[in-house]
């Protein structure tokens, strides 16, 4: 049994088809979800987090049906940690108070054990010293970490993180990667991001989503391999048939896709190159040519 099983899952908002017959399964390990704005990443994560229901298709979480009985849904939610893409914070709450509130909603009823757990997750995201500070007085990145802390309460078996690294400084991102890869050994971590470096550094598996459909599903190495021989470095401005190109800091042009420009030297593709090629025409939504 997989932790998450989605079969032909479809979700529409009015006329927008946010997810179109998506089949995906996840189990232990860290899976990264890449895709341009509006690809359907948040929609997919919200379905897995039981925040919204799919219109059609079958959703199985820990072998249970979230549309089934209330008891079944509650069982799933007990094993779930969720970091929404956007989260407001009641201004007068402290970091500790915020996480404690969520802990009560997650049925940590014993005061002593709850306080220890809240402290544990705050330490885990490096906020042990700021626990008594009001959330409204924290920086954007610190606030994001408070939100992350609540998702980690109680070591969930499914951890759904919608853009967890947004707004974090490099040190914090490195810390988060360490925390998440440790968690990945025990539970299914599903995260969306716009940062290909996060995926390369952290995820065993990568899923590329665009226009509500799965474009790629496999290991990071396999995705990079799809771009072999299609990326070059050259001195001159490339022709117009390149998918994307930009002038790097060294003054040379990094060219992805198309026909190799004269004098171009093939170079090792990065995950970002492969991702852009995978998206094809949609790539311009991700990185406009410089």
């Amino acid at each position: 049994m997989n932790a998450v099983d989605l079969t032909a899952v479809t979700k529409t908002y009015g006329r927008t088809r946010a997810l179109d017959a998506v089949d995906l399964s996840f189990d232990r390990g860290v899976t990264g979800l890449l895709g341009p704005n509006g690809a359907g990443k948040t929609t997919l994560l919200r379905i897995v987090a039981t925040s919204i229901a799919a219109d059609r298709g079958d959703v199985r979480l820990l072998g249970r049906d979230p549309h089934g009985s209330h008891a079944e849904l509650t069982e799933i939610r007990r094993e779930l940690g969720y970091l929404p893409q956007e989260l407001g914070y009641p201004g007068d709450m402290t970091a500790f108070g915020f996480v404690e509130y969520v802990a009560v909603l997650k049925e940590w009823n014993d005061r002593g054990r709850r306080h220890r757990e809240v402290r544990r997750v705050l330490e885990l995201v490096g906020l042990g010293d700021l626990a008594t500070k009001r959330v409204s007085k924290l920086s954007g990145g610190q606030r994001r970490r408070v939100a992350l802390a609540q998702a980690l309460l109680g070591d969930p078996r499914i951890l759904v993180l919608d853009e967890p690294t947004t707004g974090l400084d490099p040190t914090q991102r490195a810390d988060l990667r360490r925390t998440l890869s440790a968690l990945g050994g025990r539970c299914a971590v599903l995260l969306s991001t716009h940062q290909t470096e996060d995926v390369a550094a952290l995820c065993e598996r990568v899923v590329v989503l665009a226009g509500g459909t799965v474009r790629f599903d496999g290991t990071v190495t396999d995705l990079v391999a799809t771009a072999a021989g299609r990326v070059w470095l050259c001195d001159d401005e490339p022709g117009t048939d390149a998918l994307v190109s930009w002038r790097t800091g060294t003054g040379r042009h990094h060219v992805v896709g198309g026909t190799p420009p004269p004098g171009a030297v093939p170079t090792d593709p990065t995950l970002e190159d492969a991702y852009l090629l995978m998206l094809g025409a949609d790539a311009h939504a991700v990185r406009a040519p410089a």
Binding site: F96, L105, N109, H115
Partner: protein, 274 residues
């Protein structure tokens, strides 16, 4: 911490024994609070049990936010501790309390101004709506900042709304009951207004499951106002709460409960009806 400086053994001993002046003491304390290593070296100097209890106690006192007064009072009356944490955090509840208190106070003021005059109709207009407005406020904003987390937590949004509803009723009803006691006219009036109040609540909840709390509260308030205003056209002032009408309210309440039950069993939306 990353500092390589640590508190000297002699200094530490003086600190533990309370022999340092305020300034040196404070800086030692600040360092010790952040430095696990120095904390460890104070251990042999202090009774370990006292130390463990001390740190936990201090952290608890500093970190866990104080509960607001009404919640502390409720705690005294047996409110479970986790529920108290939830209620303390609900900004929307504060709004409910403010609204409830405001309505009750303005009504008391009105009573003073109009003493002896035609008081019954305004009372009957306002009193049953006070809990309804309070409960609508207890839903919290549609854009409640924590809404996403409330929906996906095992505690459940429906249960949270019901807990808030009870909290609002508990804090608002005594006001209105007290005011009712001071009303001129037959004594049964003081209790009679509870009939429509009790009927309007499930109506509000049932309507909210279709159109959301804001529209629902507006519809309920308009509907009830229409009943009271209708009674002003030549009927006795007690008409809205007389026996026949009470039966109608009872039927309305029963119907709303049936609707709620039907919707909660059929709805495919995750997170139940409310």
């Amino acid at each position: 911490m990353t500092t390589t400086w640590h508190v000297h053994d002699d200094l530490l001993a003086a600190y533990v024994a309370g022999r340092l002046d305020a300034i040196v003491g404070a800086s030692v304390e600040q360092h010790v609070a952040r430095c696990a290593e120095c904390r460890a070296s104070t251990t042999p100097l202090v009774d370990p049990r006292l130390l463990a209890r001390g740190w936990d106690g201090i952290r608890d006192a500093v970190e866990s936010p104080a509960l607001p007064l009404p919640v502390r009072l409720a705690r005294r009356c047996g409110l479970p501790e986790p529920t108290a944490v939830l209620l303390a955090a609900a900004t929307s509840l504060r709004t409910a309390w403010v609204v409830g208190a405001f309505l009750a106070l303005s009504f008391a003021a009105l009573a003073v101004v109009l003493a002896g005059g035609e008081l019954l109709a305004p009372f009957l207009l306002v009193a049953p709506l006070v809990p309804v407005i309070g409960v609508a406020a207890a839903y919290g904003h549609q854009q409640d900042p924590l809404e996403t987390l409330v929906v996906t937590a095992p505690y459940g949004r429906t249960r949270l709304i019901l807990v808030r509803t009870v909290a609002v009723l508990a804090s608002v009803l005594p006001f209105t009951v007290l005011l009712g006691l001071f009303l001129p006219g037959p004594a049964w009036l003081a209790a009679a207004w509870l009939g429509p109040a009790v009927a309007l609540l499930p109506t509000l909840l049932a309507l909210s499951s279709f159109v959301g709390p804001r529209v629902a509260v507006a519809v309920v308030a308009l509907g009830w106002s229409a009943v009271v205003l209708f009674s002003l056209r030549g009927l006795p002032a007690t008409w809205p709460v007389e026996a026949t009408q009470q039966l109608v309210y009872l039927a309305l309440a029963a119907m709303s409960l049936v609707v709620l039950a039907a919707r909660s069993s059929r709805d495919r939306r995750i997170g139940a009806v409310l």
